[in-house]
Symmetry: D2
Subunit: 494 residues, 4 copies
Amino acid sequence: MSSIVNHFPTDDDKLHEECGVFGVLGHKDAAAFVALGLHALQHRGQEAVGIVSVDKDEFYAHRALGLVDDTFSDGEIIERLKGDIAIGHNRYSTTGDTLLRNVQPVFADLAFGGFSLAHNGNLTNAATLREELVQKGSLFQSTMDTEVIIHLMAVSGQKDPLDRLIEAINRIKGAYSIVACGENLLVGVRDPLGIRPLVLGRLSEGGYVLASETCALDIIGAEFVRDVEPGEMVVITDQGIESKKPFGTSGHRFCIFEYIYFARPDSSLEGHSVYEMRKNIGMELASEAPCEKADVVVPVPDSGVPSAIGFAQASGVPFELGIIRNHYVGRTFIEPTDRIRHLGVKLKHNANKSFLKDKVVVLVDDSIVRGTTSRKIVEMVRAAGAKEVHMRISSPPTAHSCFYGIDTPSSEELMANKFKVEEIAQQIGVDSLAYISVDGLYRAMGETARNNDVPQYCDACFTGDYPVELTDKDNDDGNGRKVAVLHERQVKSR
Amino acid sequence: MSSIVNHFPTDDDKLHEECGVFGVLGHKDAAAFVALGLHALQHRGQEAVGIVSVDKDEFYAHRALGLVDDTFSDGEIIERLKGDIAIGHNRYSTTGDTLLRNVQPVFADLAFGGFSLAHNGNLTNAATLREELVQKGSLFQSTMDTEVIIHLMAVSGQKDPLDRLIEAINRIKGAYSIVACGENLLVGVRDPLGIRPLVLGRLSEGGYVLASETCALDIIGAEFVRDVEPGEMVVITDQGIESKKPFGTSGHRFCIFEYIYFARPDSSLEGHSVYEMRKNIGMELASEAPCEKADVVVPVPDSGVPSAIGFAQASGVPFELGIIRNHYVGRTFIEPTDRIRHLGVKLKHNANKSFLKDKVVVLVDDSIVRGTTSRKIVEMVRAAGAKEVHMRISSPPTAHSCFYGIDTPSSEELMANKFKVEEIAQQIGVDSLAYISVDGLYRAMGETARNNDVPQYCDACFTGDYPVELTDKDNDDGNGRKVAVLHERQVKSR
Amino acid sequence: MSSIVNHFPTDDDKLHEECGVFGVLGHKDAAAFVALGLHALQHRGQEAVGIVSVDKDEFYAHRALGLVDDTFSDGEIIERLKGDIAIGHNRYSTTGDTLLRNVQPVFADLAFGGFSLAHNGNLTNAATLREELVQKGSLFQSTMDTEVIIHLMAVSGQKDPLDRLIEAINRIKGAYSIVACGENLLVGVRDPLGIRPLVLGRLSEGGYVLASETCALDIIGAEFVRDVEPGEMVVITDQGIESKKPFGTSGHRFCIFEYIYFARPDSSLEGHSVYEMRKNIGMELASEAPCEKADVVVPVPDSGVPSAIGFAQASGVPFELGIIRNHYVGRTFIEPTDRIRHLGVKLKHNANKSFLKDKVVVLVDDSIVRGTTSRKIVEMVRAAGAKEVHMRISSPPTAHSCFYGIDTPSSEELMANKFKVEEIAQQIGVDSLAYISVDGLYRAMGETARNNDVPQYCDACFTGDYPVELTDKDNDDGNGRKVAVLHERQVKSR
Amino acid sequence: MSSIVNHFPTDDDKLHEECGVFGVLGHKDAAAFVALGLHALQHRGQEAVGIVSVDKDEFYAHRALGLVDDTFSDGEIIERLKGDIAIGHNRYSTTGDTLLRNVQPVFADLAFGGFSLAHNGNLTNAATLREELVQKGSLFQSTMDTEVIIHLMAVSGQKDPLDRLIEAINRIKGAYSIVACGENLLVGVRDPLGIRPLVLGRLSEGGYVLASETCALDIIGAEFVRDVEPGEMVVITDQGIESKKPFGTSGHRFCIFEYIYFARPDSSLEGHSVYEMRKNIGMELASEAPCEKADVVVPVPDSGVPSAIGFAQASGVPFELGIIRNHYVGRTFIEPTDRIRHLGVKLKHNANKSFLKDKVVVLVDDSIVRGTTSRKIVEMVRAAGAKEVHMRISSPPTAHSCFYGIDTPSSEELMANKFKVEEIAQQIGVDSLAYISVDGLYRAMGETARNNDVPQYCDACFTGDYPVELTDKDNDDGNGRKVAVLHERQVKSR
């Protein structure tokens, strides 16, 4: 029968960042700047987007599923978001059916007035805190971590909004970069280890900006001031910036995967150019795992391009576009037949046939997650006539799940968790396969090696060394309070 | 200049009921029955509609702006609302911009599990309770009264869900008919004075029904069992019905305006046929304020028809359709010019010109609120050539606002609050005007007169005698805590 | 299995008019007036609506599925329809899937300039003409009769647009009221027998109006001038009105069913008030087929109301609203189960239970088509406790299909074509049934009887006497050229 | 005042191909394959898309504005497009307001049956033919060239559909690649000079494919058979392929700009790999206009990448991603203020700041049209700290408009038509600027030089040498028949 419904596995073999955040204080075009900033951060989340602005004591919000431009390119919507303070959020959701009430920023009418908040990252004790709050009478409207923070603020005994926020943050654990706003107030917070990024910028006409990456400062012509520090809370008002460190700091463990894959190559984070770090990794990889007989170095576009350039430069093998990416990929196709389903991967990538014929090819990619896409790409390159296919990966094997804001499959689905490198090579069908080593990765970052006592980065996905306690995961005996779920569909029929 | 935007004043001169409620337990088609019941109750609210169903411990919801049929005529949506328990709600909203999060039923994940609730009516101490709850840390997501009830349940110290509901209801004041559902549970509650209606029905195949009016039992072929009593809580489970009276009762003051205008003429409420009561009022009016020289009795359609029939039968003057109503009136026209704006009233009503010419006409209508529509209708009837126009109103003068669930203009806008009957007659341009007297109204209801010591009905809109304390109104010194408002637009772009 | 999809048979047992037309010349608010006029004519067609306006030599169009108000209440849309000439059309479609390209008015870029046209009615030689035109090279874009007329204009050898129109109309046969516009030109045409209505009106500020019924003049405050005459072409320009009769006339056979059911009761057509004619029919029916023992006369709302009033007045039996109609009926419900499907008729009508109990009821309706609705209504009235149910129909038996613009089922589906009156009575379950006689109907219209030699009206649906040749039907040997059909779905995704 | 509405000039400085076409015969998944093929051809047109399928003598169509995936990823839509023959079309429209009736394929009910047709290219005598057809009575429904062809078929005296098509094509002039289908028939036609591409492919399971480029064969796994030849008509039926040359051929002048910019780099056209040709051009450019002191070769992404790789390889200067492109650019932003408008170009491109600092940069782009984007990109690269900026363009100066299917601005807007190379260099702010020479371009294509007597390609946009007569342009004295235009908005409200 020909009516089997199927979704093409387009990007499901990539890890996904869960969010991008952006905030502005002190400019009459605050909401427009937030829209542009979120546009520049679109790679960090494509499923939903929201902006909240503040005009004196009135708050304005607009949320939508889909891309930033789908909604916020409309000048009328921007004009409705009044005020010179605004924050915004791009969401990547792990569930198929994102509900609008799960779209950040969250807003609440607290005893002292309105408050709104968005964050990038993941709390590792959210379920535990939620249960405690519900038992005391808090009503949750979403299934988002973020709502836990605002409920903690609501039940805080503190008078001052900032004291409530500090009290709330002292309760949470995990990785989080928060932007928040209240009346006359923009706040940025980074978790004590600084796992997720957050940068501070300044507008030439006055006004401050908070953003997940520097590329979002560039788009609005804002000047980069500095990274917000691990465990720092920056409080921005018309009077300027105040820095606090009320949470304690426990080191500096920035997510190394931001350099490998998540961040945009034109961003600089923690003092490093992302593009240069990727090229460095490619160069290091060429020296760790060269392929002398190769005719061409071919990136798996787009993420593999910078390390392939590095690999090519270091090895002297020419860099070529042997695989072309179609950028018009929208919704996944729902296809009626098996015959067509198997064509899946080609929606996005096509081999440059006439070029690959009879070549010894080095494919450079950033990671292998489940291995499904890699296998299809190798197959496609072989079908195009390549003589040999060698794969080089610009990260160590991804063998552990992330609990700090990246949407990783469970460890059973991670190929590197189950198989040795040689087995993986065989399964994806390459003539040789090499990953960069953990120490090689650290060398590319400018270190001499990983400091195993006090590692310089969070590399839990490669090493299993989790720097923040996984409370919910550890507590999960299967007997906890079950959340009563409302499966909701909302329709705005007019 | 020709681009003044204007909304035609279509129905703005009518009072509006704020809601209809409906619930079913014990039938696999529960959600479909709720959709049909809400369809039959559509006259009680046309701006939004929602249904929540319960299947074991899973809850399903669907809410939409617009009419029941716009959304719930879709069989696929109904099938998604699983389970044999369901409740639903039709909303009439007083604000122009109804948000989906303000659409009932509300749902909450409470410590004991899920719970959902909808009500028809209005709480007179909602703002006071909300302020108290926010101070203690409750986060409100809507501006609905209904959310107060569920927060009161959330912070209750009681273990049992029903005990929490009883504790919550003991805190609220006002007029309310509630339907609620939890796991294996359907609950109906009427306020201690029974101001708003709620009836209980039974399905022939088994299963119980709660509805605002009996016409909603008819549509699904359910048998009428009895009215829920003032101050009664009926708890319906698979084991049957249990009746409780945990709130105290303080009399019986059913809203008399339900008979005059709100309820559907084919409903029976509190033992009276609505159609017969309206005809009785018309007859009583004919005897109190006859018009011997009249050639025809003409109803203002549709609400004036039953009392006009009564008036005609009692007076012997023929009943005729002198005004035709266009039932295809949808959105209000936004018209570019003054010239066209003045045509407004004709979108809905047209005089039966050839018929009214040279006649002495008795117009029968149910009420005069601001007087704007009445003036235009009289003008239209005169323009059609009527020799004389006499107006008879099947209610006493509406001189006081309702705080019990009816959307009334402020008393300054009520014509009868500012002017004497003769002044009103002059302003709307009639040759004579008469309202039924308060005692006449009670006589039509089968009483000998209004019992001024313990009145039989709530007639506050006519008499100003408010049977339930107006806490919020009395407390309103303008210095209360201000609610931080989020002006939100949500868009589901895919 | 519970997933059978079904549409409730809401109005499928009524005959449907296929269209309403409206045109204005000489007022800057032309398009707004057309929108209002079409609103007043909404009862003549609810599936689609279109307006074309002319501003010098530029034409503007807007078409949509659904009701007039759904689209044209939007002032911005109206403002885009520039110019002081405009025509519009309401469509009732016989196919489930109305396509926008089948929505009138049609427009064409002819050799002399633009021209637009809409009509109410049906051509009886459209297929024959279409085949001839296609053979010569005309490309049809729709399946509408109306497109035949504009193609005939396109291939005409005449120079002058009006001469082309006259030539085209001389080729067509059937019943048609046309409104058309070109540069500086509004044209109205009625077929030689005047089967379908068309009236001429004047705006007080200057400017002329053409409309299907007078109720559409009332809504914009236009003065009724006269009916357009059978076979007349009125040509309206800035210079005034010119009347032509270039088609020959062959009598005067206005559709008598317009009085019985289609037209709005507040319209006057051909010198008669529709409301009065309906009351007269009810009175005549009361004298032809009285029911002395009846307790109440109950109309099937809304169409049966005027004749029920006439019946009640003539018979002295009180008129009562024994059946209540729900006016919020929108889309038909798609219901998952048989159990619910059987509830169908109640979506629209409900018996006034407490009132009908133990009564002898005379039900008055305007016609019986397939009999399905009648049977359900009788059943409902009996279930409400009526002692006896007698039905009186304000038209003769509908035994023949209409080919002149009314959507009638094939004759095999017409109950009166297959059964005698007594058989019908038995099948719909009444104690007695009577239709008005053909001569009685003519008496109600003010005639002494039907003039069988030269009948005063088109009554083909009752008598089978078709006044215009049925060319397509007579030619249909099943061997004609087959139309190549494109099944199209269009989506405007942005 | 801050409310000036503006569209960011995103891609308006690129030339746009007007269409992509695709057809399949002989596979049950025909419509699904067409959807996938159009997905692969999305770069040739992004504004609208349509598919027509044929199942015996029934035709099915679906058209929509927007991208292929927006509509045709829906399996239900594909399943409605029945039959084993289908054709489709991607449209790039030059007008802001694309109407659905201007979306191809066109369909017509001709005397012999249904026929549907789509084309890529432009007719140079369409207006002249349209005027002639309208004078004889043809009614045009669109403003598309394509409709002229089908009207010529309709009025043809020939009996056989193919003879009609041949007669029609013999009347038209211009550049066109046509796919068409009728009952049991798929047809492909290329214009006598073969200006636009069209390739033939075969499915492994049987069935044939026509496509604008080979990349669309790859996506469905079809084997490339050969290019359709200039002036060839291929007629595909269940019996196989028949080739005809009924139009005469006049040489071979394939559009050279397809290699420079339009075609996808993974396509092979007329025996050349597009990617290799681009690299060759970059190499040739490096030899014609080297830049010895350069530190880095930076492409303007994405179109400049292959020639930049060629330039880098030939010159030994490292290739680097100095400019990052954001692929999530959707609708153009409508921005409220000047301040924000000036940020425009950054929506799509951002300089890789940390990398460009103090570098001597060679920017490689494919063309300069108006020069606006180039100026902004140079500005951005300088702002990032580049020491010198040298620009190299992989095409000769674009000094003439295209009349063969490419959307070019009028010649007055073409920078190279008004200014010398040095002037352009100054205006866009570069330290040096060089275009490849015409002969250099031909050398890169494998020729020794342009054969000025019988040029090997169409290069009219560079040389002004137009190989096909520009009838409409030459006839345009401003006194021709004016087309009566209907400005239409259609809304499908349900």
